[in-house]
Amino acid sequence: MKNKLNFIEVILFFISAIVISNQIALMQFFSYQQWYHFASVIISMALIGFGISGLIIKWLQKNIHTEFYRVIDWILIIAAFSFAISLLANQFIIGSFDSFLIFFDLSEAIKFFLTIINFTVTFTLLALVIGLSFSSYPQSIGRLYFWNLFGSALGGIVVVILLGILLPQQILVLNGLIISFLLLIRVFAFGFENLSKVLFLFITIIINLILLIKPIELSPSQFKSISRLKNLPDFKIEYQKTTSYGIVEKISSGLLRYSPGLSLNYTGKIPNVMAILVNGDIAGYALPSSSEVDTSFLRNSTLFLPYTLKEFRDVLILNPLCGIELNRALNGKIKNIYATELNPEIFNFLKQQFGRLKQPNLELFRTEPRNFIEKSKQRFDLIYHPVIEPVGLISGLYSIQEKFLLTKEAFQKIYERLNDNGYFSISCYLDNPPRTFLRVLNLLLSIKNENGEDLSSNQLIAINNWNVITFVLKKGIFSQDEISTIKNFCDSNQFDFLIRPNAIVTVPVFNSIFDNQTLELINSLLIKEEKVKKNYLFEISPPSDDKPYFSNFLKVTNLKSYLQQISLRTLTYSEVGYFLIWVSFCLILIIAFLLLSFGYIKARLTGRMKLEVLIYFALIGIAFMLIELSLIQKFILIFTTDIFSISFVISSLLISSGLGSLFTSKISNITFIRFLIFIVIFLYGLMLIIFSNFWVEILISFNSTIKFMLSLLLVFPLGIMMGMPFPLGIKIFSSKEVNAVPFAWAVNGSFSVIGSIGAVILLINFGFKLTFMFALILYLLCGLSFLFRKNH
């Protein structure tokens, strides 16, 4: 018996780790195939799996417990098998859905739905093992719970390390293999009662092994950069490496060139480049390192403007785009170049390419630009931001992606890092209807000087060619000499000097690309006519750290007129990411509703009891997920990438809330004491909101280890308290009616699923603070419902 319990503990530890690792590997999997990690959808899949498993356990309760080990063995074998099968089914039967086509191709929406179902199967099987272990050994729940939590936490950490070694689809089958080998050990230790299990286990091991050694090829959407590049006749993947920051690929083709902002009168050659992709999206371009390559074409671009203004001592390049922006900088007169690159592979590549550089001095920092700006105390003569959204990125699909470098707070920090008379340069493609460059303009206009006042209108200029606009902001007033230099640069390249000092907007001569309405709009933004910004069809206000969605231009209040201008078919070419979340929400809502209905029908409770359970567990289900997803958004800024943030928040919240549930048994039965739990959650959460800027700034400033430890300290108290309401509710309701438990489980699961995607929608529309506040109010309402019960 003891040995068997030990085996269950080991299994529980690994299964819990695998549940988390499966979620994060799937996020990476979707990041490559689609444009988005679909974190909320994947978390929902796992929760649905847990919900279904609860119903299955309830349904088969009597039979399962009598034959626990036989059932567990089979579930584990099928679970191990399901990793390989779900991958193969996704690849060869269902087919990879194309989020780009979901809106006008029903079959793509069906594929999306089937994909959710397909991957939910594995989560359900894993959840069954956890649920069965708990319900079969209630006397050892403490120990089992410990292994469950420990496994979950470790799973979140190990998977991030594994992503640096294996492809996400390999991690999925590795999970299957781990389960298979655990079972194999069990065969040797205890023996299986029949041969068919052993046979099936070996088949499972062989299939998973084959898929580990020869992983299935990911099939990215036909509209992703990698797919489009594959269509080039001499396309070649020179190099592929998986990193914790995504899959890095170097692509060569004799047909690849990169030259945004190029002058129309440039007659020289544009050399070939190598494209560097991360998760199938272009991250930048690299020119051959040969000294014979003529890089002077980079001077004939609007992007070169800041380098013409003077000789610089210290220049910071926020994103060297895998090298091409360093090549551009090398065409200027600079003493020291500083650049940031987070991805270790691209960082090493840059070191190889530019490491031998003697003059100018080049210093590379392996960090993310916003983090560098926050941490560094150094000041620069020029801070250079390349063209926003390098080719390959699709603004619409990225409308739900957090961009913490393109927020008011980031721009303010950049300004503060400039030396007196230093410059900040940023470029973007022109779009129509105008949105991106207007938002950049608003971001620049949001910067305040040392006294907290608006900048002078003599500090900002902009030039444009036929499709790119380059802004230069000076920490000082533009001199006449500088204005002459800009004019000469424009004349020789046939660029237009669009925004001149004193907020003068001139009608372009060479590139008549703006209509009068747009020119008037630019003018009114420069003179800060707030009404114009408010009345504009699109949201062009500067994004903030609270709502860092730079590429989301959708104003929900203008949705009707927006859809009239942009038809459903062309929606796929605009803010599709935002609508994709709504589609996910609707699909998940259907599944959650089905789960809930099943639980509701099966629940043998009085109408009043059902209502009380429904309200209580729905509130805590939604509130928990709103807080989890809000924290994920905030921690991206701290941990630099979404995968790190997801991994940290999920793991830390799981452990802390698990500990919280353990403490629940020690909590007094006095209603007011229980109510205090909700008050503490509310107050602690409120503190997090009020001081969010403060703690974020503090955490960013530390190195990774201290950052991690301090983040744990910050999240743990909240997690511990958030872990209490669920077991507390179970205790209270089950003391009145034992049948309340499965219904409570179903309600909580269903509303957690809704909450996870609902959180993304709330975050995009209302930002971190309001979403978090909303969750806290829900917790408070839960607490009040306790008092209400007492009074009643």
Partner: protein
């Protein structure tokens, strides 16, 4: 059994019907011209007639035939699309088409735009970088009997020097820069139409004109296009 057989026969007949140009498709084209093109200000009769003549449903994937005359672009595979009918008409009108002109098209795609151009322009040269699309378009245009279209599978960046200079150049996919060789291959006074904007976002149609050795660009209308593969 009889019912199944008759259903199969009807299905075969349907498959046959959609491969030919029926009165219904002609009516759809007429509607397309009146409601989508003329209504938006394209009045050049030659262009309108060309749009009436070319059977667009031959140029879209089979599973999209019912949408062939809809007011929007359609995916044709390989991450590419066939442009919205209005845009094809508009771009054609902008270059002042005539039988004596020579036009270069960068990005053949399905071959639809080249087919429209071939009705009203003397010689059309079109380059497609994606081999599969090139083969499909070549096959399709040959079957439909378009004689004045020359196709090439290759990099649009270099244009087609052997036949340069061109009276007009039509670039059907958005690009981040205009390749210098294309500007060189444009005749003095020639016109180039090109969609701009970052790929997949809403894009703008730009007219590039060569006048007295200088190159000017002008915004025409907002448009949504297939993204231009770099290097083309």
């Amino acid at each position: 059994m009889k019912t199944i057989l008759s259903l199969i026969i009807i299905l075969i007949q349907l498959l046959f019907i959609i491969q030919v140009d029926t009165d219904e498709f002609r009516k759809q084209r007429e509607r397309m011209v009146n409601l989508q093109i003329k209504a938006r200000g394209v009045f050049d009769e030659a262009v309108l007639n060309a749009m009436r003549k070319v059977p667009r449903h031959f140029f879209v994937p089979k599973n999209r035939i019912s949408e062939a005359y809809d007011d929007g672009p359609l995916p044709i595979g390989y991450g590419q699309t066939i442009s919205q009918p209005f845009i094809v008409a508009y771009m054609t009108e902008v270059i002042n088409p005539s039988k004596c002109k020579k036009v270069l098209e960068i990005g053949t795609g399905s071959g639809y735009h080249a087919a429209v151009l071939s009705q009203i322009i003397g010689s059309i040269f079109t380059i497609e970088i994606i081999t599969e699309l090139y083969k499909e378009a070549k096959d399709r245009l040959e079957k439909l009997g378009y004689k004045n279209i020359k196709l090439k599978n290759g990099d649009g960046y270099y244009g087609w020097k052997e036949y340069a200079p061109f009276d007009a150049i039509i670039v059907t996919a958005a690009a981040e820069y205009v390749p210098p060789p294309l500007i060189e291959q444009l005749k003095e006074g020639g016109k180039m139409v090109i969609p701009i904007g970052s790929p997949f976002s809403t894009q703008t149609l730009i007219l590039v004109e060569k006048k007295n050795g200088k190159v000017y660009s002008k915004n025409l209308i907002p448009v949504r296009f297939v993204p231009f593969i770099r290097g083309k």
